[in-house]
Amino acid sequence: VRRLGIGARYALYFSVPVLVVVVLALLAAGLVAWRQAKAFRQEIDGVVLAARSADAETALRGTAVYLGNRLFNDLHRVDVERLDEEISKAKAWLHVKSFLVTDAKGTVLTDGTDGKSRFGEALSGALPREATPAGVLLVPRGDETEVRFVIRSGEIVAGFGVVTIAEAPWQHSLRRLDARTRDIWDGYRASLLSLGGVGLLLALLVGLVASGILSRSLARPLMEMSHAAREIAGGNLDYRVDPEGAEEVRDLANALNGMARDLRSHERALQAERADLARKNAELERFNHTVSHDLRSPLTTIRVFAGLLEKSFAARDEERFRSDLLRVLSASDRMRELLEDLLRLSRAGRVVDRASEVELAQVARDAVELLRGRLDERGVRVEIADGLPRVRGDRHRLIDVFQNLVENAAKFTVGQAEPRIEIGAVTDARGLVVFVRDNGRGIERQHQDKVFDLFEKLDPGREGTGVGLALVKRIVEAHGGRVWVESEGEGRGATFCLTLLLAGGGGPAGSAQPGGAVAAAGASAIDRPERPRPPGLPVPPA
């Protein structure tokens, strides 16, 4: 049965009971019809029999009375010859098997034949008495009917007549009626049977139609769905079923589609998570690699120059001794600095309280204040724009961010006649974008992605370990924001941008895409005219 497929199977399940019910109903109807027909026939038989037999009996009785009167004289005179003559006459109009005439005691006198074979035979059985109506007694004997009648005149009984009629006329007509009703009944049965056959055919037809409908409305969507389920299980999570057919089937299809959708989104989330993990893993590996390499570098210097110190000491080369000692000291300083920066970096990932609200202007002022000495030393002017908003974030970490960005910008402006750093913010479709802009040497486009990498220094000659911008990136990303740099290239200044969440609302700052509008002022408008200049953006320092 399982091989038939669900449509045929359901059709079978559906049509077998229908067939059984139809057959049972037909049988019951047939039985009832049969019984009713039978009763009907019996009733007809009874009524006809009663009517016919009454008629025939009356006629027979009349005949018997007539014969009784007619035969009296001859019997009274015991004129057997005349009796035989009368019997012959009577036989001419009455179909009889035998015609006996007896005396008053019931002894046969004549049977109308020449042989007189039954002469003297005593008649058995009852004889009609005076009490018998009209003195006629009808005795049925199998197919035959015996009519016994008194031959008399007034009160004088001469004897009795016994006529045996082969078949009562009513019996004959009854037989004909019976044959006729049997014919009718046969026809009736045939039509009943053909009706049953038609019923069966109809049931079969109903079964077939039901199979078709079921297979269309139930089986096909189900098969489609099982196909879909296999597809989905096979990894094709974008496979969808057309919801059609019965409501329940549509519900199932929708549930299946929903499941596939959920699976797809779960898979996407998992993939994103996996990618994120892989990225973090690679980052960690790179970090370890970088750290080991960058720590080994000053260590090599220390160890090798320590060896050289020994040599120059032995050679009494005081000048070289002194310069090599300086190298050892500065390498060990660099190592200490590196270790401290690494420690800062690892701390930067732990943002204590990124939900608290802080005044951005205050954060920027605090950061600048921490660098005041070095900035003044280099004559760098820092401008903090008015109306900086309140943002969400960890105050100390944000100060770290601005301190590093300003320090970095100050490094970039070395050699500028009028070094200037500008801190501002714009709010656009990406949310709040905070920027730190300098008029320094700028960053070529091919290096713009690398500046945030750990230990990545664009200029090996300048101070610093290459940790600062990595630290900025780490803190901003821990706040759910992004950080990027925009620069039109060498000598055209650089703008470091980061997204932050405005205090008291707004979506995630991480939704902002890098490469935006902040640097799109002044000269950049020529290079990238398609980018509209954001309103209220300060013109970059010349």
Binding site: H289, H293, R296, P298, T300, P460
Partner: protein
């Protein structure tokens, strides 16, 4: 003093070394060791990958062939500012014009991915900077011996 003889023989034709090294101390070290063992060799030092490529392609401040001769050997550090060492290596080995310049990576990293990546980029030799003077000195001496004394170069 066999080695010295070999070195002086070679020195008939000047031997030019391009040192790509961002760590000034390490550069000084290489310079001192080379001066001692290969006094005839010309040493040209650049501090980052971009400068190395500019030197090799004679761009910008390296346009003068007299001051920036084609090197017979490139000593390349891997971790470099701006353009890293592997990129420099690929830029030397991929286009045909610089392919036959021997490149020796001289770095602090002994990480297998770095070694593999360098060989994938057709490096000629990969050497790790030793962490004491005697071995550092010996290494530079052996570089001179091999690349100047033994190795036939184009």
């Amino acid at each position: 003093m066999q080695q010295f003889r070999v070195a002086s023989q070679v020195a008939v034709r000047p031997f030019e070394v391009l040192l790509v090294e961002d760590d000034q101390d390490h550069a000084e070290l290489v310079r001192r060791c080379l001066q001692e063992h290969l006094p005839a060799a010309g040493l040209h030092h650049v501090s980052d990958g971009q400068q190395a490529l500019d030197y090799l392609h004679r761009r910008g401040s390296f346009a003068d062939p007299a001051r920036s001769p084609r090197p017979d050997l490139v000593l390349l550090d891997l971790r470099l500012p701006r353009v890293d060492g592997l990129t420099v290596l690929r830029q030397i080995k991929e286009p045909p014009e610089l392919r036959n310049v021997p490149v020796v990576v001289l770095t602090t990293s002994d990480a297998i991915p770095d070694v593999t990546a360098a060989y994938r980029a057709y490096v000629n030799s990969y050497l790790v900077k030793p962490m004491d003077f005697a071995r550092f000195d010996a290494l530079i001496r052996q570089i001179g011996l091999y690349w100047v004394g033994r190795n036939q170069h184009p």
